[in-house]
């Protein structure tokens, strides 16, 4: 077997040489890179099915890639483990988990070490953008703190973001890439002696005796903080449709983890459900990794994400199906195609609008839910608690950073360490950074046909201003200086192209009439190096909406410090200003198959993935009048599995809604410890022999 599913070059990410180790998969000798997770080592060989469920023998594989579910369980050296969380080790024997795993025999009686307990002023759960920002602010105030993060590297989801960030340069590093922001923030935090940072450390519960259980590497310990900050982020929402549990259907976050962290190629052709920023960016990341994006469907008439994100993806050649929903993921063992359909204003699929498109992976990016349980637990335990970032309210990372900083100061004040007043404008700005896209204004091209100037293909108000900060002549401005406003250029341009390379949406081009006023040179920012563009090559240039304008030859390709390339073409003057990008994915790639595959949405669709509980079983009890979700769980086992209802709870609530219930008629599930499953061996602190 060949290990062919690895990313060997990437326009943004560095492909590092790593030590190669040997492991075994069901008696096959394979190779892995030292330190990588078992799941990723298997994906590198194109192995996506890790086992079969005990209840119905359905294929199991990666779903969350985040340690939250147990669908990627394999047997490693005899012990059942979550393959997305456990690194491969030399000569590890990995077997697929078919049905229930067998518990290995153990004959030695254990002895135990005492449990370690720590006290601190502030415990921060989560080292993503908001947690890091809060920790830095607290450290500036000399507040002793412990920050725990369940990954091996700080930065949370920032480490997966290869694109440049929106927001404001001054307040949240806009224009820099997520991966670079993660480095800046973690390096800054590590400068402070008062901050203790534990990676590979998962908080499992805030107990009533005000202690927080932490699973750190392979030990269990307790921390008693004066104040808890929940910066644990969010989890992805799921959908119910036939085939929704096939290996190959997973969240956009899981996809980004596989591609941008582990640098494996999980698929050749993806389809994305959800036109929010997460789905749009995941599509962009896929293209950067050399993966075809055969379409994106959004149920609303417009994508909910930033229009510039959508336009960027669409220009590159990805079809965007608005007012469309997924009907099914098709085939038995792994995804082979998707069927979508147009929807009416009530989101009901319209007959005869079904389309089937070949793909091997379907990304679900239909929104996020805050991880709010630590907040609730702390309140119940009487521990003073704050939440920030997505754990408080779902928004962009730029907002998470700024709000994290404000929360840090609030905590310092709560500890009586700071009496600093939080400026009123900060809360205004915090609000703006959180704001969804605003108005779309008419698209206007400059009238001038001489000299050199930037053209903005940016028509929707979003909180973003990096272009205004980089112009050496300070000629790019926003009306009223509002972060939400649209940029405009007036006056002089040197043609330095800094605005082109800083724009997160790659929505600025430069048109230069100075050498040839009939065939001005157009400079287009580009960063999909897995589709290399070379001088002399003919490219398809497109307008803001992705419509073909012309086929032109590239006259020059310039590399820049920001890793964004500048592609230059000479264009006839009637199209020059209209050029907003270039198409790299030809329409044939995303062609709709001749005959749609139709699978009726019946009762056999899985709602609870862990316990394989179908929509039919749940609907049956809802129709019998069961309104207490605890009782529903007792009758069906939906929510009793490894993930603890993290995925199915919102799906079941939606089913109640479909059946005509109002939210206040429903009694919610009782939440219980633990956040993730923990082996008894670790909880007992067995002494190492």
């Amino acid at each position: 077997m060949a290990e062919t599913h690895r990313i060997t070059k990437h326009p943004i990410l560095e492909v590092k040489e790593k030590k190669v180790i040997t492991f075994y998969w069901n008696d096959q000798k394979l190779h892995a890179q030292e330190g990588e997770m078992i799941a990723s080592a298997l994906f590198a060989y194109g192995i996506h099915v890790f086992g079969h469920h005990v209840k119905d023998n359905s294929p199991q594989g990666i779903f969350c890639a985040n340690g939250q579910c147990a669908q990627c369980t394999v047997i490693a050296n005899g012990i059942p483990v979550k393959s997305c969380m456990i690194p491969v080790t030399e000569n590890m024997i990995v077997q697929s988990c078919n049905g229930l795993p067998e518990l290995p025999e153990v004959n030695e009686s254990p002895s135990f070490d005492p449990i370690e307990e720590y006290e601190t002023d502030v415990l921060i759960i989560g080292g993503g953008p908001s947690g890091l920002s809060a920790a830095i602010e607290l450290s500036k105030h000399n507040v002793p703190l412990i920050l725990v993060d369940d990954k091996s590297e700080l930065g949370g989801k920032l480490v997966l973001q290869t694109h440049k960030f929106f927001g404001s340069i001054k307040d949240c590093y806009a224009g820099a890439r997520g991966i670079d922001i993660a480095k800046i923030l973690s390096e800054e935090l590590l400068k402070y002696d008062t901050a203790t940072v534990w990676t590979n450390s998962t908080a499992v519960y805030v107990f009533s005796d005000k202690k927080v259980g932490i699973l750190k590497d392979n030990t269990y310990l307790l921390i008693k903080p004066k104040i808890l900050l929940n910066a644990a982020g969010a989890r992805e929402k799921m959908l119910v449709f036939p085939g929704n549990t096939l290996p190959g259907v997973y969240g956009a976050g899981a996809f980004q983890t596989l591609v941008n962290r582990d640098m494996v190629i999980p698929s050749k052709r993806i389809f994305i459900i959800g036109g929010g920023n997460v789905g749009l960016i995941a599509g962009y990341h896929a293209l950067q990794a050399g993966i075809q994006v055969v379409g994106l469907a959004e149920a609303l008439p417009e994508c909910g994400g930033y229009k510039v994100h959508k336009d960027k993806l669409h220009r590159l050649g990805v079809p965007i199906y608005t007012s469309h929903t997924i009907l099914s993921a098709n085939e038995k063992d792994e995804v082979e195609s998707i069927t979508i359909a147009e929807v009416d204003e009530h989101f009901n699929p319209l007959p005869n609008t079904e389309k089937t498109i070949a793909c091997d992976t379907i990304l679900i990016a239909v929104g996020l839910n805050p991880i709010d349980e630590f907040h609730q637990e702390a309140e119940e335990a009487g521990v003073e608690v704050f939440s920030t970032g997505d754990a408080e309210e779902i928004a962009e990372a730029s907002s998470a950073m700024f709000n994290g900083k404000i929360t840090g100061i609030k905590i310092a004040k709560a500890l009586n360490i700071s009496s600093e007043k939080i400026p009123e404008e900060w809360s205004k700005k915090a609000k703006i950074l959180k704001s969804p896209p605003q108005k779309t204004l008419p698209y206007k091209l400059p009238e001038s046909e001489e000299g050199v100037f930037p053209v903005f293909h940016c028509v929707q108000e979003i909180p973003c201003n990096p272009c205004t900060s980089v112009c050496p002549l300070d000629q790019i401005k926003i009306i009223d200086d509002s972060l939400l406003g649209l940029p405009f250029f007036e006056g002089k341009c040197t043609g330095c192209m800094q605005c082109l390379t800083v724009c997160p949406a790659l929505a600025i081009t430069l048109v230069d009439y100075r050498k040839d006023s009939h065939f001005p040179t157009v400079s287009i920012p580009y960063e999909v190096g897995n589709h290399p563009i070379e001088s002399g090559q003919q490219i398809h240039v497109v307008d803001i909406d992705g419509d073909l304008l012309d086929k032109l030859h590239v006259v020059n390709v310039r590399d820049t410090k920001t890793k964004t390339q500048i592609i230059q073409v000479k264009a006839p003057s009637h199209v020059a200003k209209k050029i907003a990008g270039l198409r790299i994915q030809e329409p044939a790639v995303s062609e709709v198959l001749e005959n749609p595959l139709l699978d009726t949405i019946d009762d056999s669709v899985i709602v609870c993935r862990c316990e394989r509980v179908t929509a039919g079983e749940i609907r049956k009890w809802i129709r019998k009048g069961i309104t207490d979700m605890n009782q529903l769980k007792q009758l069906t086992r939906a929510g009793m599995g490894a993930c603890g209802g993290k995925t199915c709870e919102s799906l079941i609530l939606r089913m109640y809604k479909e059946e005509g219930y109002a939210l206040q008629e429903i009694t919610f599930n009782t939440r219980r410890p633990l956040y993730i499953e923990v082996p008894l061996e670790i909880l007992s602190i067995i002494k190492e022999k």
Binding site: L103, E108, Q631, L683
Partner: protein
């Protein structure tokens, strides 16, 4: 809704629901009033599902044998799978004291009809392979004891009781009980009033509070226990294992493997933690993990999935309080000391005979020994 009933039961839990079931089966009109949203949401759902007749007195052995009969024949009778299995109970002994005590009880237990015996350490290791053999002296084993799902059992008892005509109100907390000339009026916090000739207090943790409404002081005090459940693995041991040895800050603990492969466990803190605070403490998991691994090292690779804390409504002697009171028509089925789930159906049957005037001499004797007016001097050995 009709507001007049023959019998009002307060509490739709482990005990109230099966009483309603068997009274409704006898055609009594029954109303069950429950403060929570659905049946079994108090302590029933926190039970780990063990069902045994291995007790140290006649009344509980009799009631439990009848319970086992209900659990074990339910599927055959009504078709619902409540996950009954006769996987047996074992009380392994590692000390001389426990061996003597357990063996001493065998005679009494057998005389009341219990199928129980002493098995050697070797035999015990066959049904629970991997248990620590060091110092193991043997174990009691009662193969007809077993387990069922408290979730499914109570729900199916509930559905069946409604088929038989029982009525339920949920989300209403009883705030007042008035004695009328020919019965009782029960009022709830939503200002609904219901009347009946008889009232049965089956209020679990709230038994004493409900008693006070009619001037009774019922000696039931809840204390807290914590339980947990692991992920599922292939079947690897059979019986419920009860380790009676005390340790620092805990008394016995017990666990078994459920039919779907999950191991479910529970521990008894010492000294008792009185009160109804159901929040999880940080002490429980390391404490129970160490004790279980010491007894059964093989458990170490099991992952704990969920934990919870619930109460045992305790009485001074560890036995339930059943039957009539000085108030005409006011009955008690309270103080189950953590055994409401396993005793419930037997108590339900007993109450059905009580109300249809068909108590046997044994029944009368058993009710007397569990009366509110007994001398609470003895002590249950298998609390």
């Amino acid at each position: 809704m009709n507001k007049n009933f023959d019998i009002i039961i307060i509490g739709a839990g482990s005990v109230g629901v099966p009483i309603a079931l068997f009274l409704a089966e006898k055609k009594f009109s029954v109303l069950v009033i429950e403060s929570l949203a659905s049946p079994g949401q108090g302590q029933n759902k926190k039970a780990i599902g063990g069902i045994r007749a291995t007790h140290s007195d006649k009344a509980k052995i009799h009631i439990s044998l009848e319970s086992i009969d209900v659990f074990s024949t339910w599927k055959e009778k009504y078709g619902d799978d409540i996950e009954w299995r006769s996987n047996g109970y074992s009380f392994p002994a590692y000390t001389d004291e426990h061996e003597k005590m357990l063996k001493g009880l065998l005679k009494i237990q057998k005389s009341y009809g219990l199928n129980i015996d002493w098995i050697s350490a070797e035999e015990f290791l066959k049904i629970a392979p991997g248990v620590n053999p060091n110092g193991l002296r043997g174990s009691t084993f009662s193969p007809e004891d077993g387990s069922a799902s408290p979730y499914l059992s109570l729900n199916y008892f509930y559905f069946k009781s409604m088929e038989f005509g029982a009525s339920y109100v949920f989300g209403e907390e009883v705030t007042d009980i008035k004695k009328e000339c020919n019965g009782y009026t029960v009022t709830t916090h939503t200002n609904n009033s219901y009347s009946s000739e008889y009232v049965i207090n089956a209020a679990g943790n709230n038994a004493n509070h409900i008693g006070k409404m009619v001037g009774l002081d019922i000696p039931v005090v809840p204390d807290s226990h914590e339980g947990g459940i692991t992920d599922a693995v292939q079947h690897f041991f059979n019986p419920m294992i009860v380790d009676l040895r005390p340790a620092e800050n805990s008394k016995n603990y017990y666990f078994c493997q459920r039919p779907e492969g999950q191991v479910i466990f529970c521990i008894t803190p010492e000294p008792p933690i009185v009160g109804t605070d159901s929040r999880a403490t940080s002490i429980f998991l390391p404490q129970v993990a160490r004790r279980m691994l010491e007894l059964f090292p093989r458990l170490k690779n099991l992952k704990v999935r969920r934990t919870w804390r619930g109460q045992y409504p305790e009485t001074p002697d560890g036995f339930p309080i059943l039957g009539d009171t000085e108030l005409d028509g006011f009955y008690l089925a309270v103080g189950m000391c953590g055994q409401g789930f396993m005793l419930g159906p037997g108590i339900g049957k007993l109450f059905a005979r009580l109300f249809s005037n068909s108590l046997s001499y044994d029944d009368m004797d058993n009710m007397k020994s569990l009366s509110l007016y007994r001398n609470f001097g003895s002590e249950e050995k298998f609390k």
